[in-house]
């Protein structure tokens, strides 16, 4: 049972993780499917994988029911565990790498309600920051905001590191979406977005296309998908727009590279694609379902069926 599949930055490698506790990496160049690595280290089903930006090398993070977060790295052609984080008391549900401009930072959301931030400081060392009780009952998803330099219209003197305001969004079992901001090296809750009536299952912060607006998509057990927009740069007023009410739980939302398409998967056994129309209304542009069709398949290999 595959729980997550992610292509790397360039679409050349595919990482999958599964309930058989393995994380597998495939080379998928030119339509091929070559298994490069079968990584073992988790003691429970692995829920999510996330690729770091290639400028840090070939790095993959995975999180699992076994409360661990493992960072894997490719050195000299082989994949190895480079760091293991065991600071959570319960299943870790989601991992998300920060924009590469901030450095190598990983956010992890767990069923123990806490969110950990692991920052690589060099020489194999990681600095941990933990936000306890971020969401009561548990945190299901984390998603970083794109890196936007405040006052980016003004040129920064070269060589100086711009002052980024780091933000990320999290969704939890308290039906809330929270926006966290780093201030004075501490993470503070900046906003609470309330609209869902049941557990929030996934949040996705849209990539920036240069506009001063920020957009977040959220989906929940209540079958609703909301699009949240904030018009001013200081991030103070977020307004939700209901994308659609599905008949069943919605599990996953994700934006395309240029944020012009939102993909939603959930209840009705479909993956639907949505696009914003002229008057700001989101319309469904395509359904992906089962049956016949021209697609190519990758076989992960036989799973042990019990």
């Amino acid at each position: 049972m595959i729980h997550d599949a992610q292509m790397d930055y360039y679409g050349t490698r595919l990482a999958t993780c599964s309930s058989d506790r393995s994380v597998k990496i495939f080379d998928v160049r030119n339509g091929g499917q070559i298994l490069i690595a079968d990584l073992r280290g988790h003691e429970g089903p692995v829920w999510q994988v996330a690729w770091a930006h290639p400028m840090y090398g070939n790095i993959l993070a995975s999180c699992s029911y076994d409360r661990k977060v493992i960072v894997w790295k490719e050195e000299n052609g082989t994949w190895e565990k480079t760091y293991e984080y065991t600071g959570h008391d319960s299943s870790v549900n989601s991992v998300c790498w920060a924009p590469h401009d901030y450095g190598l930072i990983l956010a992890c959301g767990s069923s123990d309600g806490a969110i950990s931030l692991l920052s690589y400081t060099g020489d194999g060392q990681w600095e941990i920051k933990k936000i306890s009780n971020a969401h009561t009952i548990g945190c299901n998803a984390v998603s970083w905001a794109p890196a936007v330099v405040p006052g980016s219209l003004i040129d920064q003197p070269s060589g100086q590191k711009p002052n980024y305001i780091k933000r990320f969004a999290s969704g939890g079992c308290d039906n809330l979406i929270k926006i966290w901001k780093e201030e004075d090296a501490q993470w503070k809750e900046e906003q609470k977005l309330e609209a869902h009536s049941d557990w929030v299952r996934d949040v996705a912060w849209a990539p920036s296309i240069g506009l001063p607006t920020s957009t977040i998509a959220s989906c929940s057990q209540d079958g609703r998908v909301f699009i949240w927009t904030c018009d001013d740069a200081s991030g103070n007023s977020w307004s939700p727009k209901l994308l659609h009410k599905f008949n069943d739980v919605v599990w996953h939302v994700s934006w395309s590279i240029t944020a012009n398409i939102l993909a939603v998967s959930g209840g009705d056994n479909k993956v639907t694609l949505w696009k914003e129309s002229v008057d700001g209304v989101w319309v469904c542009i395509s359904d992906v379902n089962k049956g016949q069709g021209a697609v190519s398949a990758i076989t992960e290999g036989q799973q042990n069926e019990q």
Partner: protein, 650 residues
């Protein structure tokens, strides 16, 4: 654009069992991954597995070999159009735009030809089917484009309009030539079964000369009908047509036409052709009798052919605004309410109605690829025909389509370069789309990375330049290519990384006694200043060079400076002092007394620093080294003092 008026298309994935599993997905550059899974993510480990992940792609066309030429060549035309300044105005500008339009069409036709060849030469049935489908799609595209060219780009006025439409029909609609060839090459052309069909189709297409030529065969073969043939031939000869160079006005033309029409009417009513059904029918056609024309449905094959024929024989001076009514009624009469509309029909109808946005919308829905609408819309935009139909996010239709098309190109390993130019000509979002897409191009080879870099540098995309250089530097380090890594990190202006790599170089030197990548280090130039460690590396190498060239006093000065100016890291001082040894031991005195004092001070600083902690780990080699150094320094000091105290000369 308002509401979506078509149901979103359903894409089906084979082999997925919807009863037991749910579908989840992940985005990939250019495509989407879809896989089966079960929600909620419970702890149950032992669940029935589905090992399949499906890759779903929207646009397969990008990967087609033959279409690649279409993309490449149309790219050239597109860029040329953007760059052509609007210096020319009025007629010459229009002529220029028409030329561009014809260029696009010839590219489509060339592609069609090639595809056709492929379809004929292949033996694989699926491929043949695929190619043939592609040929018909391209053919439809050219048909539509041609009509748009006539109606929108050329914007032919009444009179010329019909001439262009006639050309259009002759070129596209049905293939008469093979039938005619058969007829003419037979022994008795006029007895051929298709003879009258050939004459008919010539008449229907307004090809009077060709019709007359065939008719003469009938006349010669059948003396009894010679009389009738002569009259018919005469009528055909006299038919007034507005030719391109003709200077007569529309009104004159209309008058002449009226006279001619009346003459045909007379002959028909007199029963001149009553003994020959074929010729009578032709006369009726000449008179624009709808029923007579409709009888030849199979020959015309399409309602738009019917439309043009009708116009030729009933209203040759039709105005562009009148087209829509004729088009609508032609379609109704021709199809007779039996068959439903095909997408091509609605597109053409929208064009006849001059609903440009409708044309673009229908084409977008019907075609699998944005190529056609993107280029056509761009051309129409240049003709100033698109009102700024602003979409919600401020981008106009032209830009929207170009962005979609170019984004599609980026999933291809070499076509992405074309996409760059398209983004360049999208003033609102082109830059940011380029930034987002260009980061995803796999940098498999150094050349590709350099190519991407050049593109970013030309457009002042500094963030992307830095990012790419960092990625390449990291790759080089992983493959132990330190020189390459260093040059990439210099290009990225990444001081931290440069320091890291310089340390590696220095470490290598300590271990092996020599430097790798000497060329690079020797020619660092001002980029040496990027990081202190890098400066040290460069200067240290310079020291070695000076030494090698036997410029000892300069080398000595440099060596000393490296320590006193604190360019050298403390960890390296021992090595530097050891390097000073041979200079101290030279016959000639190189270090002056003052310099020697400096060196001694450095040594003392070094050993003093290593007091409490290190004294416990007394390293024999280290202590010997220090002793040797002290000795050498003392000796040199002595010689230097003597030398400096001695008077020169005498």
């Amino acid at each position: 654009m308002e509401e979506l008026d078509v149901e979103p298309p359903l894409t089906l994935i084979p082999g997925v069992d919807s009863k037991r599993k749910k579908l989840c997905f992940a985005w990939a550059p250019g495509e989407m991954l879809v896989y089966e899974t079960l929600f909620p993510k419970e702890c149950a480990e032992k669940r029935p597995g589905c090992p399949n992940i499906f890759i779903v792609r929207k646009d397969q066309d990008v990967y087609s070999q033959t279409l690649r030429k279409l993309f490449n060549e149309s790219h050239g035309i597109f860029v040329g159009l953007q760059r052509s300044e609007e210096e020319l105005a009025g007629k010459s500008r229009k002529a220029q735009l028409v030329r561009v339009s014809k260029n696009y069409r010839s590219v489509i036709r060339a592609c069609m030809e090639e595809m056709h060849q492929l379809a004929n030469s292949t033996r694989v049935p699926e491929l043949q089917c695929q190619h043939s489908t592609q040929v018909s799609i391209l053919s439809a595209m050219e048909l539509i484009w041609n009509l748009c060219e006539i109606l929108f780009v050329e914007a032919a006025p009444a009179g010329h309009l019909l001439l262009h439409l006639l050309d259009w029909v002759r070129l596209h609609v049905c293939d008469v030539d093979s039938m005619v060839h058969e007829v003419l090459s037979s022994e008795n052309p006029s007895k051929h079964k298709d003879f009258w069909n050939a004459v008919d189709i010539f008449v229907l297409q307004g090809r009077m000369d060709d019709a007359r030529h065939l008719l003469s065969k009938e006349a010669s073969a059948n003396p009894t009908s010679m009389g009738m043939c002569k009259i018919l031939d005469d009528l055909m000869k006299k038919m007034p047509i507005l030719s391109v160079g003709n200077t007569q006005t529309l009104t004159e033309m209309e008058l002449k036409w009226q006279h001619w029409h009346e003459e045909c009417q007379r002959y028909l009513q007199d029963g001149t052709f009553s003994s020959n059904l074929h010729m009578e029918s032709i006369c009726k056609i000449l008179l624009g009798d709808e029923n007579a024309i409709l009888e030849k449905k199979e020959l015309m094959t399409t309602w738009y052919h019917f439309l043009v024929t009708r116009l030729v024989y009933s209203h040759p001076t039709v105005k562009p605004v009148e087209l829509r009514f004729y088009a609508q009624s032609s379609m109704d009469l021709f199809l007779g309410g039996e068959s439903s509309w095909e997408p091509l029909d609605s597109i053409l109808m929208a064009a006849f109605e001059f609903e440009i946005h409708q044309v673009i919308k229908e084409c977008s829905i019907a075609l699998s690829n944005w190529w056609f609408v993107a280029h056509l819309t761009d051309l129409l935009d240049h003709c100033k025909l698109l009102q700024s139909h602003n979409l919600y996010f401020g981008s106009n239709m032209r830009e929207f389509l170009l962005l979609e098309y170019a984004s599609g190109l980026f999933s291809h390993h070499s076509l992405w370069q074309l996409g760059v130019d398209y983004f360049d000509h999208c003033p609102e979002y082109g830059k940011v789309y380029l930034e987002l897409h260009i980061e995803r191009i796999p940098l498999n080879t150094e050349q590709k990375a350099l190519k991407v870099l050049r593109i970013c540098e030309q457009r002042q995309m500094h963030e992307q330049v830095r990012s790419i250089c960092k990625i390449m530097a990291m790759k080089a380090v992983r493959n132990n290519r330190l020189g390459s890594a260093l040059s990439w990190s210099i290009r990225a202006k990444d001081a931290a990384f440069a320091t890291l790599i310089s340390d590696r170089f220095l470490k290598d030197y300590c271990e092996r006694g020599s430097f790798s990548d000497l060329d690079l280090i020797d020619n660092l130039g001002p980029s040496m200043l990027l990081s202190d460690r890098l400066t040290f590396l460069g200067k240290y190498r310079e020291f070695h060079r000076l030494y090698g060239e036997k410029r000892f006093s300069e080398a000595a000065k440099l060596l000393l400076m490296l320590m006193t100016a604190h360019i050298a890291p403390c960890s390296f001082w021992m090595t530097l002092l050891t390097d000073a040894l041979p200079l101290l031991e030279q016959k000639e005195v190189i270090f002056s007394a003052e310099q020697t004092y400096e060196l001694m001070r450095c040594l003392e600083d070094l050993t003093a620093g290593k007091t409490d902690n290190q004294k416990l780990q007394v390293d024999d080699v280290e202590t010997t080294k220090v002793e040797i150094l002290r000795l050498a320094l003392a000796r040199n000091l002595a010689r230097a003092i003597v030398k400096e105290g001695t008077l020169e000369g005498s």
